[in-house]
């Protein structure tokens, strides 16, 4: 079984976990205490996005919200997530908070929590977050989860840290030799992390890493992707990837919400603290989600990746009506340009259609690969 198979059977792991009498919690965004849930025997399952149309959701959501929220509601309405014991969403945008409200009213019997991971790192935020995590553990226990203990939480952190290390290694190897692994494989690997138990995912990642060739042997234009790409684009093979391949372009790094934007910094197990303190520290401060991080910080990460892995341009995949990303785009493109990198913004609503995208991506690739001023 490879990662695409995991995505093709995306509910299999959750259903298996449920069958074993344990809780399954729907999650949105990586800025959630997944380690805590896992330590309580709860499987956190990140919502993956289904392709449209989203007809049912339009009875409850206005048309001017992103496809992510429409997709989650559509799948809820169609009973696809009937196995969930509840959901926990992180405050990464106002739409997801609003969606949590609708779900709580439509399905009042299910557990719903909007989780806020503070953007600041100060004592007040720290105390709040620790109390919030303890309260979450108690609520999960009342739902039937096992109690959180220091030992279990430490073990969960260790499993998740190993996972972060392995995913980072995939990105490093791919960055050094982008032709050695297809972008769909990398994204499938990251997306799979959100829907299956991490110990199994770690095993699969270790095997996957063995299959990636380490020796650099291809040349071509190196691209960085940012924004959001739906799971079906990855599983079924997005037109974007075929266009890149046809034009001898490779994805060297990505900052996709479904990719590298996953919380990859290790949880530091510092001296003098308990595992809960370690988790608290990791969830505070600037975050991968654009709402809770400045555009400069994000631009800095892209520039660093571009310099490390030879990225030559950035393609932004911007979901329509995603306000936090839309607000950042003018600043990001300006900073990239000031540093000699071109950027292309593709607005997405539903699947990426080939026609116009081909023209724009090909023109973009021609521009960056042909520039005499290339950095």
């Amino acid at each position: 079984m490879d990662f695409k198979d995991v995505l093709n059977e995306k509910h299999r792991w959750a259903l298996q976990h449920k069958k074993e009498g344990r809780l399954v919690m729907g999650c949105y965004s990586a800025m959630l205490p997944e380690e805590l849930m896992w330590s309580c025997g709860v499987l956190p399952v990140q919502f993956l996005m289904s392709p449209g149309p989203y007809d049912e959701s339009l009875s409850y959501l206005p048309p001017y919200v992103c496809d992510c929220s429409k997709s989650i509601l559509e799948d809820y309405m169609n009973g696809i997530y009937g196995y969930l014991d509840g959901l926990i969403v992180s405050h990464v945008c106002e739409t997801i908070r609003g969606l949590a409200g609708i779900l709580s009213v439509r399905w009042p019997e299910r557990f719903v929590q909007v989780f806020t991971a503070p953007s600041g790192k100060d004592p007040g935020a720290r105390s709040y977050l620790k109390a919030e995590l303890m309260s979450l553990a108690e609520r999960l226990q009342r739902l039937g989860a096992v109690s959180m203990t220091e030992e279990r939480l430490e073990a969960a952190i260790s499993v998740y840290n190993e996972n972060r290390g392995l995913i980072s290694e995939v990105y490093r190897v791919r960055g050094e030799n982008p032709g050695a692994v297809e972008p769909e494989q990398v994204l499938s690997a990251v997306m799979s992390a959100g829907i299956m138990p991490r110990p199994q995912h770690n095993h699969m990642l270790r095997e996957f890493l063995k299959t990636i060739r380490k020796d650099p042997d291809v040349t071509g234009t190196r691209i960085i992707l940012s924004g959001l790409l739906f799971e079906n684009e990855v599983v079924e093979g997005s037109n974007l990837f075929s266009i890149l391949r046809e034009n001898n372009a490779f994805v060297a790094w990505d900052d996709l919400a479904s990719g590298m934007r996953y919380r990859l910094e290790h949880i530091e197990c510092f001296q003098g603290g308990e595992p809960l303190d370690w988790l608290v520290e990791s969830l505070m401060g600037p975050q991968p989600a654009p709402l809770r991080s400045s555009a400069e910080r994000k631009a800095g990460q892209m520039l660093e990746a571009a310099r490390t892995y030879g990225g030559e341009g950035v393609i932004f995949l911007v979901p329509k009506y995603c306000d936090p990303i839309l607000f950042d785009i003018p600043t990001l493109t300006r900073i990239l340009k000031e540093n000699g990198y071109h950027a292309l913004c593709l607005e997405m609503s539903g699947a990426l259609s080939e026609g116009q995208m081909r023209t724009r991506v090909e023109a973009f690739l021609e521009m960056i690969s042909g520039s005499p001023f290339k950095v």
């Binding site: 009875s59 409850y60 959501l61 206005p62 048309p63 001017y64 919200v65 405050h91 945008c93 106002e94 739409t95 908070r97 609003g98 969606l99 949590a100 409200g101 609708i102 709580s104 009213v105 439509r106 719903v112 929590q113 909007v114 806020t116 503070p118 953007s119 600041g120 100060d122 004592p123 007040g124 935020a125 105390s127 709040y128 109390a131 919030e132 309260s135 654009p290 709402l291 809770r292 400045s294 555009a295 400069e296 329509k320 009506y321 306000d323 936090p324 839309l326 607000f327 950042d328 785009i329 003018p330 600043t331 493109t333």
Partner: protein, 406 residues
């Protein structure tokens, strides 16, 4: 004093408020841009002049200047899908212009990541443009209207963090007595405002939405100042008189409506049109649930701790409460103010108020038998709205509810 005369008092004060900001800048006193959520009480207590570009946008809309500024922002790659307050505000910033001239430059900016996406990211763009420090308030989400002690404690800590930041930026020390007095004045303004809202229950309604959205200026920009208390006392006195005389905003009140979302600032004439049909907006979401939510839910500034009072006010802004609270508030407003129909403005510029409207329409129908009408537009971009199409459709809706009443 009638409603028109009260409006003249408010207009004159609004002009003097903006002049005060300009004067502060000239004199070298600190000027802060903030979101419309403030917290003004803390800033006024620390000698900071508060400037709210959002409020300036509403003036811009009233003067029919918003379209040009929205277009200006779009030339700077600001997406037309983003909040029209932000687009218009950024357009004014980029073009260094506005309805009474360009706003004075800020010394620092206070945004709110907890409130909505633009309230974090718009201010980031402004801070970058003016090259000034940005402070972002954060808070937990009050999903079901039950604030836990640790959530309240974090909010208090955020307010104290802001006080430290202001001290650092201005050199003005935080003086607890000054802060306590500003919060007391804010509490008094809110309590008086709540009494005015109560009087709207009378038939005929002594004040409608046009008057109330004007009144709100003091609650938003002047909370913590004596002027807000004086203004609301005057309005309360006059409104009581109107009730005693049996005077309503309409000569003949045929229908009472509930209005949900921000008003169309460039076209408040929609309320005049409704009035001409004998329909009064007897209660509305915007003046009662957004800034005033804590007081609407029965809260008062009576904890003895000004930080705690202000934290509670903040956590009950409509931006910070979940749909279960929003449902209860809409139900109560429509029921207690005797509304027979509801108008839900589906605002492309404000997802935080618009997501969940369909659930609110459903409960109004199921629990109170109230029918709703909905339309889509943006509160600060006139390109989004057609008055002709709107009146055609609302006319039909009013007929339906009038017939149902018979």
């Amino acid at each position: 004093m009638n409603n028109q005369e009260i409006a003249q008092v408010r207009k004159a004060y609004t002009k003097s408020f903006y002049a005060r900001i300009g004067q502060a800048k000239k004199e070298g006193r600190p000027v802060a841009y903030t979101t419309a959520l403030g917290p003004t009480e803390l800033l006024y207590a620390m000698g900071v002049e508060v400037c709210m570009p959002e409020n300036y946008v509403t003036i811009c809309c009233a003067k029919q200047m918003a379209k040009g500024f929205c277009e200006e922002a779009e030339t700077y790659s600001i997406s037309p899908d983003l909040c029209s307050y932000a687009r218009c505000g950024l357009g004014m910033m980029y073009s260094m212009d506005g309805p009474m001239g360009a706003l004075p430059e800020p010394d620092f900016i206070v945004g709110a990541v907890s409130a909505c996406d633009p309230h974090a990211k718009w201010w980031e763009l402004e801070a970058r443009h003016y090259n000034v420090p940005l402070f972002l308030m954060d808070s937990s989400y009050n999903f079901r209207g039950q604030v836990k002690p640790h959530q309240e404690a974090w909010m208090i800590s955020e307010l104290k963090r802001l006080a430290d930041f202001v001290e650092e930026q201005t050199g003005n020390p935080f003086v607890e007595d000054d802060f306590r007095e500003c919060v007391r004045l804010s509490g008094e303004a809110h309590s008086t405002f709540a009494e005015i809202q109560e009087l709207r229950k009378h038939i005929p309604a002594p004040r409608g939405i046009r008057e109330m959205v004007g009144d709100l200026f003091y609650l938003i920009t002047q909370a913590g100042r004596r002027e807000s208390v004086e203004y609301y006392r005057m309005v309360l006195k006059e409104t009581r008189e109107r009730v005693r005389r049996g005077e309503g905003v309409l000569e003949e009140e045929r229908l009472r409506l509930y209005f949900h979302n921000i008003p169309l600032w460039f076209n408040l004439q929609i309320f005049d049109w409704l009035a001409a049909q004998g329909a009064v907006v007897a209660m509305d979401f915007y003046t009662n649930h957004v800034w005033h939510g804590y007081f609407f839910d029965g809260g008062r500034f009576d904890s003895g701790d000004p930080f705690k009072d202000l934290a509670r006010k903040w956590l009950f802004f409509d931006n910070h409460v979940g749909l279960p609270v929003k449902l209860a508030r809409s139900l109560r407003s429509a029921r207690e103010w005797g509304c027979q129909g509801a108008i839900f403005f589906s605002n492309r510029s404000c997802k935080v108020y618009s997501i969940g409207q369909m659930e609110q329409m459903r409960v109004l129908k199921e629990e109170l038998g109230i029918s709703s009408f909905t339309f889509e537009a943006e509160m600060a971009d006139p390109r989004s709205f057609s008055m002709d199409r709107w009146t055609e459709r609302v006319d039909l809706f009013l007929d339906i509810i009038a017939n149902a009443e018979r």
